[in-house]
């Protein structure tokens, strides 16, 4: 259970709200959960639309999501703290962003208060949604620290709380040690459900090559962390684009979802991505996108920058393990875009 390279630090989880799902059986395995009835194809247009320019604005009320895909996103919400939460119009956009996805890996929570994320998730759930979260400790070498967060839709996703932790950081090469957690989809029978590690990262822009090298080791350590899990998705703000991913290439089959476009709000850099290996993560549906804050929500650049200097990036995965039989064929098992 402990990856090579150092111990995993465990992370305390917030108390589950009354509406949250049951997470884990006493035996330490995921508790079987009933499949959630959702309307297939409602978001088909979303998945098929131009990935770069975003998608139609979210409807009012909990979103109906497709049964045949889970959408995993990464979003650096620049300086997500008290001043941002005080701006109702910004919170409104952020909540609409989150409701589009099944899990959002958030970077850059920078707040003295411990109530930022609980308040934010309450705002997300104000329409009847049932999101919950796991949050990491404050990470960073100076007294300016950041926290990672996974916000997830409990109707469709569950987390194994015993797996939430801070990844090994040998030789202290990574400024903000990544946070990981193991999730399982709830839209298929539990014995078939897609399970996977997520590893959330925000690199230090001044030490990118060293950190990417170290993250390659983190990825491999997570691949080896437990024999029953072959799916590792490293996602976040890497401060680097695919041309700089050479260190990852030592991982057999490695690939990344986002390429050939920009991911920051100014549309000038490709810094955010989701990285995973194939054929292990054959659940990847070869569908990905960048939710452009300006075009999606009709915001001028200055107002989009109030939300964040990064756009969310996402990829779609089939909700059942690829080795499982008896489910409809996957939409595609094409290689990860290079």
């Amino acid at each position: 259970m402990v990856p090579a390279g150092g111990p995993i630090r465990r992370v305390m989880l917030p108390a589950q709200s009354a509406c949250s799902v049951r997470l884990r059986s006493p035996a330490g395995v995921f508790r079987p959960a009933p499949a959630v009835c959702v309307v297939a194809g409602v978001l088909a247009c979303f998945l098929a639309c131009n990935a770069v320019v975003g998608f139609a604005q979210a409807p009012v009320g909990p979103m109906a999501k497709p049964w045949d895909a889970v959408l995993i996103a990464s979003f650096n919400i620049q300086v997500f703290g008290e001043s941002k939460m005080a701006k109702q119009h910004v919170v409104e956009v952020l909540t609409r962003v989150v409701r589009n996805f099944d899990i959002v890996a958030i970077q850059e929570v920078r707040a003295k208060s411990n109530d930022i994320i609980p308040s934010f998730v309450r705002a997300v759930n104000a329409d009847g949604s049932r999101y919950h979260y796991v949050i990491g400790p404050r990470e960073g070498r100076t007294n300016s620290k950041e926290q990672y967060v996974f916000v997830y839709d409990t109707n469709r996703i569950e987390v194994d709380p015993s797996t939430v932790g801070i990844s090994p950081n040998p030789q202290d090469k990574i400024h903000r040690s990544p946070m990981h957690a193991r999730f399982r989809t709830r839209v298929t029978p539990a014995e078939m459900a897609f399970t996977f590690w997520l590893v959330d990262i925000h690199t230090d822009p001044d030490e990118v090559p060293q950190e990417l090298e170290a993250l390659t080791g983190v990825f491999q350590a997570m691949q080896a962390a437990r024999p029953d899990e072959d799916d590792v998705i490293l996602l976040g703000d890497l401060n680097a684009g695919p041309p700089e991913f050479s260190s990852f290439k030592k991982i057999p089959g490695i690939g990344w979802a986002v390429s050939g476009t920009t991911t920051n709000t100014r549309r000038s850099k490709t810094y955010d991505n989701l990285i995973f290996a194939q054929p292990a993560t054959a659940e990847y549906l070869n569908r990905w996108g960048v939710l452009d804050l300006q075009s999606t929500y009709g915001l001028p650049l200055e107002n989009a920058l109030e939300v964040s200097d990064h756009n969310p990036v996402w990829a779609a995965f089939y909700p059942a393990e690829s080795r499982q039989q008896g489910l409809p064929p996957m939409a595609g098992q094409m290689p990860v875009r290079r």
Binding site: V79, G81, H89, T142, Q171, D206, L299, E306, D309
Partner: protein
Amino acid sequence: MSDSSSPDIGTLVGQLAAGDATLRAEAAERLCRAGSDAAVAAVPLVRACGDDDDQVREWAVAGLEELGPPPQGSIPQLVELAGSRHPLVAYWAITLLGRSGKDAATASKVLAECLGSAADPSVRQRAAWALGRLGSEAATARKALEKAAAEPDPRLARLAREALDSIGV
């Protein structure tokens, strides 16, 4: 959405000195949103890292992360701020000097001092990193780097070794 008007950089720099912390935080946030256009505000943003208000500090840090190298004319002031007793101010002054590379050759002495005697480990580590970015211009810091390379802090020792490698023989 509010906030459609954009004060110029000079106005925002002035606002960083306001008595009201809310105004200072707003100025730091707007400078942060200005991206590399705020490079001329590098020194005021480094000073803002020592602000009493945590939101001012956080926005200043976020702005500095995205700023890139500072204008060459700001190097003398950054050299001065590298010796600040406030660790976050020193850390970011040193970071900007490191980003300046060989243009910050005059910072070699103060960086060696920070490496040798700063109380905060993150400041010492960043000084080793910055000396590595100066390359051969950091030759005068060789002795301090050799000492740091033998210290028990693994990150400090590694960065010092890398800096020595970048200086060359």
